[in-house]
């Protein structure tokens, strides 16, 4: 086996052998022919076939993987191909030799994208993780981000919830910001984009994640949260290949929650308010017409099935995906064209997501010294439906399961509002029929994005090249909302109304990079790069709203139908950045590697005092395995130590925060509306970058000829001058001000282990494991402040602070009372006047609850030991950040079958189950509750888990609703079968694979909600929050992969 030969060397070798074989002469020779295939029995194009110890004799395989070579009959052939293991085969007089190559797990030769350039993996000094297209192509996901979850050490990806097309929270090496964005910087083919959701999975060639600051500092002020670099596919030199991948997916809800049966519900309602509901549900005797009442007693409900609202609201769906691409070219021109369609019909009624992308890329070598490259990418996404947030899901869970005597189940199911509720004085028009809402409210969010990239590379001299690149990126969004006549919103507003929002996001960017590369005296390698970048972005916005529609059916397409135009808004904002950067890489004899970078960034968003920031980094690596003393250590194929240090920034905050502004608002004087000006904010004239410094120590270890590869990184990442909406005392006139305050430290250890467990011709098994341990600590806040409160505010009745960040502790602390069971009769003494008094030593909740403590009420722990429960008894009761997380993938190739499965896991994170908190508030009128409420404390059921119907303080967090969110999920399992090419040849197909994939087949967890992977607030301070999260679906995909 040959190792560590660079691609250029290999290509050179192939080219040389090609030339030489023309002049080769025959000598007792035979002609050997055959086909070279890969592990999936696909033909491999361009495989070098050489005669051993006669390197001058060689050929390469053609577009069908075929070769033909004249060699002595006793020769040995060496088959070599990039990223595959070389294979030696003795000819032994045979004229036909078919060879299957197996992947080379020694990935040191891989080319890694590192920002304004590429590097060999073996040359890396920083912490860079790579994901190849292989690892994502079997995922049928709306965004590639979902496929990445559980695949990269140090990267924690959490879906907001299960909404089709939902967003993802990506945290690279922990939470490094409090109020600033903690999203990484996304770079696609060299240019920044807002996210990578617009890309089709099939168009992605590789994804690199720059984790430590020594790697990411080249992106300076925007790299503090790490950088995700995506490289898309480009053309190849060879016969055109047409590929088609089609699949159909079946989805269903992965879990439903148990709510109370109609019988339990009726009993609860009567218990809560006998005066009001004593005769709503059952009555003995006959009605006015002499007919007996349908329900004579509560027991008549035992057999009543009622309405299963989850069943009404959720459905099973089928949706389709089609990817098609053509890839081809020759030595000078390479091209690729692709189209992809992704559909996801949501499991919640009338929700869905569709994505269509089209892409073309061409690379043309114009002259010997000039290469141009152009890419055009179009994406359209359509997201529909009202989703489950804002109480919709909670309505599904707590809408009445039976109508009772006055309302039939059908009426209940088909009315916008519960007819019973409407007849009551405390009718709350927020609580409407969720199924009806999905049918009568139209929400369509369409995004169309055009991205055009172009670049020209000039080879100025042998060692000096210059590349100029530009991007033009426009994103048009149309967001339509229409509240049909029967929606609750129209009901409240006195008629149907709708609005259309149009947003145009625009940015362009240009960078120019000069690269000098040379090797002196064979051992000194130098690569110096100097660059400059300018970028501009703007957002324009238009909103139109009209009300009083005579009918619903035209909706947003003609807002002028609404008799009254009710709102018009426009806005414009712009920002600019200007940057200079440089990188020097020096490598002595491939043993000692040094990298230094520096970037200067200027940005409009900061105050005049702090327009510019400077971001340096240094890194060194020692390739121990290249040392002479390692020559004899056979089993170590690679050993490298890395050390890096760097500083990067975060500038992602809103525009204009350092400016003293008046903002216009409306004020009606008499019957005239006028525009008046009010101070907008407390400006901060000192606002600057958030700065993050990382020190990283890494170890790369390859054993047993690359069959075991371990990458371990330990880091300390300190972020200071946090961009933080500092809470202000309201006496200042404002609740908060953006300031640079405080410090966060993330310490961590990341392990990535790849092993080839078994490898021979027909059986291959490999395992990829990644594991991350990250410890987050808030080191400081404003002077004199040692904590910071946050409020989820998910419901207007819920106004308390429920998250807290303490200095010295991790972010993401949940804050509330500690549940201590339920007050029982045994906690009380009888008083002489037949009352009850709490026994000595039992904490008294009376004052806090506003009513005297009594059996059945929730008991909290009296943490300060003063005998009464008050606000001093709140404490940290959970944390939404995991202690460790990761994933493990196993891949098998057995004959023509391939099987892989990915487990994703997370340990030690808590989930704040606000949905459950809200659906166990049992004193609510007419609202069903989760099944656990049936086991509530009553005079005959001394529950110590669920308080009595009236026995709790409404809208208050206590530890009962904080649940362990650790989980182990079988995220993806795929079984594929590749048909023998002999069969396919007849139908001109070069490859045909069929496969079955199951996503989210099971999830082991103690979490009682729909899914523990949830983050509905998407806030750094308030992770692990579940309020009305769209349930995750379980998906089964049946697909076919065709290549011509």
């Amino acid at each position: 086996m040959e190792k560590n030969i660079s691609i250029t060397k290999r290509l050179l070798l192939v080219a040389v052998s090609l030339l030489l074989c023309i002049s080769a002469f025959a000598q007792q020779e035979i002609t050997v022919k055959g086909v070279v295939t890969d592990e999936n029995n696909e033909p491999l194009i361009g495989v070098g076939v050489l005669q051993e110890s006669a390197a001058s004799n060689g050929v390469i395989t053609d577009a069908n993987g075929k070769y033909s070579i004249k060699v002595p009959s006793n020769a040995v052939l060496v088959f070599s191909y990039i990223s595959y293991q070389n294979q030696k085969v003795a000819v032994r007089g045979s004229s036909s030799l078919n060879v299957k190559l197996l992947p080379d797990n020694n990935f040191l030769d891989e080319v890694v994208v590192v920002g304004y350039g590429t590097m060999k993996r073996s040359d890396l000094t920083g912490s860079v993780a790579s994901v190849s297209s292989k690892a994502i192509e079997d995922f049928k996901t709306s965004s590639v981000v979902e496929a990445l979850g559980g695949q990269i050490a140090g990267v924690n990806i959490t879906a907001t919830d299960g909404t089709p097309g939902a967003g993802y929270d990506i945290k690279i090496r922990g939470v490094g910001s409090v109020n600033g964005s903690s999203d990484p910087l996304f770079i696609v083919d060299g240019f920044e984009v807002g996210n990578i959701d617009y890309l089709a999975n099939q168009d992605i060639k590789s994804i690199e994640v720059l984790k430590d600051a020594s790697a990411s500092a080249i992106y300076g002020a925007r790299a503090a949260n790490g950088v995700v670099l995506v490289t898309t596919k480009s053309g190849i030199d060879g016969k055109p290949q047409i590929m088609y991948n089609g699949s159909a997916s079946y989805r269903k809800i992965s879990k439903t929650l148990d709510v109370m049966s109609p019988y339990d519900f009726v009993k609860l309602q009567v218990e809560v308010d006998p005066a009001k509901y004593g005769s709503t549900y059952y009555k003995a005797g006959n009605d006015e017409d002499g007919n007996p009442y349908a329900y004579q007693s509560a027991e008549d409900y035992i057999s009543e099935t009622g309405i299963d609202w989850q069943d009404e609201a959720f459905r099973e769906t089928w949706s389709q995906n089609h990817d098609i691409s053509i890839i081809g070219g020759n030595k000078n021109s390479k091209y690729t064209l692709s189209y992809s369609h992704f559909d996801e019909d949501g499991i919640f009624k009338n929700s869905g997501y569709a994505k269509n992308t089209a892409r073309g890329r061409i690379t043309q070598k114009v002259t010997k010294w000039l290469t141009v490259d152009a890419t055009v990418n179009y994406t359209r996404t359509d997201k529909t439906g009202i989703g489950t947030s804002g109480g919709t899901l909670v309505s599904v869970l707590n809408y009445r399961p039976v109508g009772g005597l006055s309302v039939t189940n059908d009426e209940l199911l088909n009315s916008t509002y519960d007819p019973l509720a409407m007849s009551e004085s405390n009718f709350n028009s927020n609580n409407s029929n969720p199924v009806k809402q999905t049918e009568t409210v139209d929400i369509n969010n369409r995004v169309e994005q055009w991205i055009a990239n172009g670049s020209a590379t000039l080879q100025l001299t042998k060692h000096l090249s210059f590349k100029t690149s530009g991007t033009y990126n426009t994103k048009y969004q149309r967001y339509d909302t229409f509240y049909g006549t029967e929606s609750s919103q129209a009901f409240r507003a006195g008629g149907a109304y709708g609005s259309t929002q149009m947003t145009r996001g625009f940015n362009w960017s240009n960078n120019n990079v000069l690269t000098y590369q040379n090797r002196f005296k064979l051992k000194h390698n130098l690569n110096v790069m100097l660059g400059h970048e300018t970028s501009f972005s703007s957002t324009e916005y238009l909103l139109g709203q009209a009300k009083d529609f005579p009918f619903d059916n035209l909706g947003n397409d003609n807002l002028a139908l609404g008799a009254t135009p009710s709102q018009v808004e426009t806005s414009l904002s712009k920002s600019r950045r200007l940057s200079f950067f440089a990188r020097a890489f020096y490598n002595f004899d491939d043993k000692y590697l040094l990298t230094a970078t520096v970037r200067a960034d200027g940005s409009t968003v900061f105050s005049s005092k702090n327009k510019c920031g400077y971001f340096p980094s240094f890194a060194a690596a020692w390739n121990v395995s290249k040392e002479a003393f390692m020559n004899n250590v056979d089993w170590v194929s690679n050993l490298k130590l890395r050390l890096g240090w760097g500083t990067v920034g975060n500038d992602r905050i809103a525009n204009y925060l350092s400016m003293d502004l008046y903002t216009p608002i409306k004020y009606g004087v008499g019957s005239t509306q006028t525009t008046v000006m009010v101070p907008k904010q407390l400006a901060n004239e000192n606002l600057k970058w958030e700065g993050s410094t990382t020190t990283n120590v890494g170890l790369d270890l390859g054993l047993f000829k690359g069959r075991v590869n371990l990458v371990a990184d330990a880091f300390i990442k300190d972020t200071k001058d946090l961009l933080l909406a500092q809470n202000l005392a309201y006496v200042t006139g404002f609740g908060s001000q953006w300031q640079n305050i405080g410090k966060i430290r993330n310490k961590g250890l990341e392990l990535t282990l790849n092993t080839v467990n078994f490898s021979n011709g027909n059986f291959f098994w490999s395992t990829d494991l990644n594991l991350s341990f990250i410890k987050n600590t808030l080191e400081s806040l404003q002077d004199g402040t040692d904590y910071m409160l946050s409020r989820s505010g998910f419901n207007s009745n819920f106004s308390n602070y429920d998250y807290i960040a303490y200095v010295g502790q991790s972010l993401g602390n949940m804050y509330g009372y500690v549940f201590d069971g339920i007050y029982q009769y045994s906690d009380f003494n009888m008083t002489p006047d037949d009352g009850m008094a709490l026994k000595e030593g039992v904490a008294d909740i009376s004052e806090h609850a506003g009513v005297a403590a009594q059996p059945g009420m929730t008991k909290y722990k009296d943490l300060d030991g003063n005998g009464i429960i008050n606000t001093e008894d709140r404490d940290v009761i959970g944390n939404g950040l995991p202690d460790w997380y990761g994933g493990i993938t196993n891949t098998f190739n057995i004959f023509r079958f391939d099987l892989s499965f990915l487990f994703q896991f997370s340990y030690g994170n808590d989930v704040y189950n606000a949905t459950r908190m809200f659906t166990t508030q049992s004193k609510a009128d007419r609202q069903n509750q989760l099944a656990e409420v049936a086991d509530r404390w009553t005079t005959t059921n001394a529950s110590n888990k669920v308080p009595s119907a009236e026995g709790y303080v409404s809208s208050e967090l206590y530890s009962r609703f904080i649940e362990d969110g650790s989980y182990l999920r079988l995220k993806n399992i795929t079984l594929g079968y590749t048909l023998p090419e002999k069969l396919l040849k007849k139908i001109y197909v070069s490859k045909l694979r069929v496969y079955v994939t199951a996503q989210n087949l099971f999830c082991l967890t103690n979490y009682s909600g729909y899914d523990p992977e949830v983050n509905t607030l998407s806030s750094n301070l308030m992770p692990g929050f579940d309020w009305g999260a769209y349930p995750k679906s379980r998906a089964f995909t049946f697909g076919i992969e065709l290549q011509f």
Partner: protein, 550 residues
């Protein structure tokens, strides 16, 4: 590195303060921005008009529980209550806006033309009157507050803020309002401003100052020397002849429900108006007046949507209304009806009388205890009856919001304060005191304001105590449900006792009525006279002391 090139930031949608207020016209937009604070939820859109003022001997919140919005009106809440914090925050934000305006306009003043300078001088007086009003609300509701007099103070760290004594705050308010009195024209004489609709004028400043003195004289500061100042300030206003009572009491409600500005009686009024509301856009300047405290109206019954009608009249108030047969205000204040989708205006209760199902009126219930049950917790205030008063032009279709205005101060309020202050100062009623009360009563009875009438006038020769009692009662008749009662009871030092007495006397109406009057069980003497300092503020401002018993 040459990175200094144009990275200056420009706002395309907002105005930079440094390049604004170039003339009086621009200054006025910022001044109106200060006024706009009046329409915030924390101020008169909701909390200071309807929410915090609710529980008294006249009114209570709908329902028989303390769930949802019913906790605050029943005094069953804690220092973490959001609404309390919202009001605190909104008031201080309003004060910031006023301070900002005063500072900015003073800075720009020298470059103004002569006519703009005249306008700016009036604007400055208006902003100071508004600041006085904001501080008056802060000090009477929260008691011990921070005195923020410039925007520069907003840069202080939280732990450096301290509480001023109520006296210091009152002195600051007095200075602001005296300045306003000296620099504002009477609405009638206003030749400077092109319009003074819903704006402060001298009459408003005088009236407010009277009320400030009367509050300063009462609980908890109890500086009784201020009765004289109150009487003398009111006297200036009364004797100026620039303001008067409308001849028809009902006209007040027609005006305020339809955005009609008549400054003769309306001294300070908040204008609510929003043509664009859809139920979504709560940033528009609309209020909850007439919805939250209106006549109970079912969903979809009237063109403006339902009225929750969460204010309910305590029936003993009706029972104890003296001479209500002749007092026109009785029927104009208490609604014994509701609106129902099917039938429109509908009686609250029916009874079978002589075998015939008959609609019951409040008069029938007053006369016959057997008919009273249906009026437990169902009577509504009638002053902001949207279905009756709001004309099509001013309809706002929304479940919770309306375009109905809110009187902060009416001339009749000042007349009654004048009478009260005179009686307190002199130790007994003077002729001016009698005349002031009687004017209010005569108008209420539909009689000519300036002619004595035995039907309406208070009996002569009342003692100090008897006159005080009469004025206090008169305030309930004249100003019922207008948001003054609770603060009146507090300044008289009888809030707790009144609540408890009201609870006890509910049985005078009928035996069930007590179940509808819950606040008595939650009200604590010496605690509920003030709101708590919001817990968040207590947590941040370490030098702050929480109000008693909170």
């Amino acid at each position: 590195m040459p990175v200094s090139c144009s990275l200056d930031e420009t706002s395309y949608t907002e105005m930079e303060k440094n390049s604004y207020l170039n003339d009086a016209g621009e200054a006025e937009t910022v001044l109106l921005g200060v006024y706009e604070n009046l329409t915030q939820d924390g101020l008169y859109s909701y909390h200071l008009s309807l929410y915090f003022t609710l529980s008294t001997d006249l009114a209570k919140v709908e329902g028989t529980s303390i769930t949802n919005f019913r906790n605050v009106p029943n005094n069953a809440y804690t220092s973490t209550e959001t609404e309390v914090q919202t009001t605190w925050a909104d008031l201080y934000n309003a004060i910031y806006d006023a301070n900002d305006f005063l500072e900015r306009v003073s800075g720009a003043y020298d470059n103004y033309s002569e006519s703009d300078k005249k306008l700016a001088a009036v604007y400055i007086a208006e902003a100071r009157a508004l600041r006085g009003l904001f501080y008056f609300e802060l000090v009477r509701w929260f008691g011990n507050v921070a005195l923020i007099t410039s925007t520069e103070q907003s840069k202080q760290l939280p732990e450096t803020f301290t509480q001023a004594t109520p006296v210091q705050v009152y002195e600051f308010i007095e200075k602001d309002l005296k300045y306003a009195v000296d620099n504002l024209p009477y609405a009638k004489d206003d030749a400077t401003r092109s319009s003074n609709s819903y704006r402060f004028s001298k009459g408003g400043a005088l009236g407010l100052l009277t009320k400030v003195y009367a509050t300063w004289a009462g609980y908890p500061v109890k500086d009784e020397s201020k009765w004289q100042a109150a009487a003398e300030t009111a006297k200036v206003l009364v004797e100026s002849g620039k303001h008067s009572l409308l001849s028809n009491y009902e006209q007040l409600w027609k005006n305020t429900c339809n955005n009609v500005w008549d400054p003769s009686e309306s001294l300070i009024e908040v204008s609510f108006y929003s043509p664009s509301i859809t139920g979504q856009n709560d940033s528009d300047a609309s209020g909850r007046i007439g919805k939250w405290n209106g006549v109970s109206t079912g969903e979809g019954t009237i063109s403006s949507g339902r009225s929750a009608g969460n204010w309910k009249v305590v029936p003993t108030f009706a029972l104890n209304w003296e001479n209500h047969q002749n007092d026109k205000r009785f029927a104009l204040s208490i609604a014994d009806y509701k609106y129902v989708k099917a039938t429109g205006k509908t009686a609250l209760a029916t009874a079978t009388i002589g075998g015939v199902k008959t609609d019951l009126t409040l008069e029938m219930a007053l006369a016959n205890p057997d008919y009273r049950k249906g009026f437990n917790g169902t009577l509504s205030p009638a002053k902001w009856d949207i279905a009756k008063y709001v004309t099509d032009a001013n309809v706002l279709t929304d479940a919770n919001l309306s375009n109905v205005n809110w009187y902060i101060l009416r001339y009749s309020d000042v007349l009654l304060l004048y009478a009260e202050a005179m009686n307190e100062w002199k130790g007994g009623p003077t002729t001016e005191a009698y005349e002031a009360v009687n004017m209010v009563r005569r108008r209420g009875f539909g009689l000519p304001v300036n002619s004595a009438s035995t039907l309406s006038d208070l009996p002569e020769g009342l003692s100090y105590e008897a006159f005080r009692t009469a004025v206090r009662k008169e305030r309930t008749y004249e100003l019922a449900f207008e948001g003054h009662r609770r603060q009146d009871l507090v300044r008289w030092g009888i809030y707790y006792d009144t609540i408890q007495n009201t609870y006890a006397s509910q049985t005078d109406w009928n035996e069930d009525a007590q179940n509808y009057y819950l606040c008595a069980g939650y009200t604590i003497k010496g605690k509920n006279e003030l709101l708590p300092i919001p817990q968040r503020e207590m947590d941040m401002m370490k030098q702050f002391k929480q109000n008693p018993l909170w």
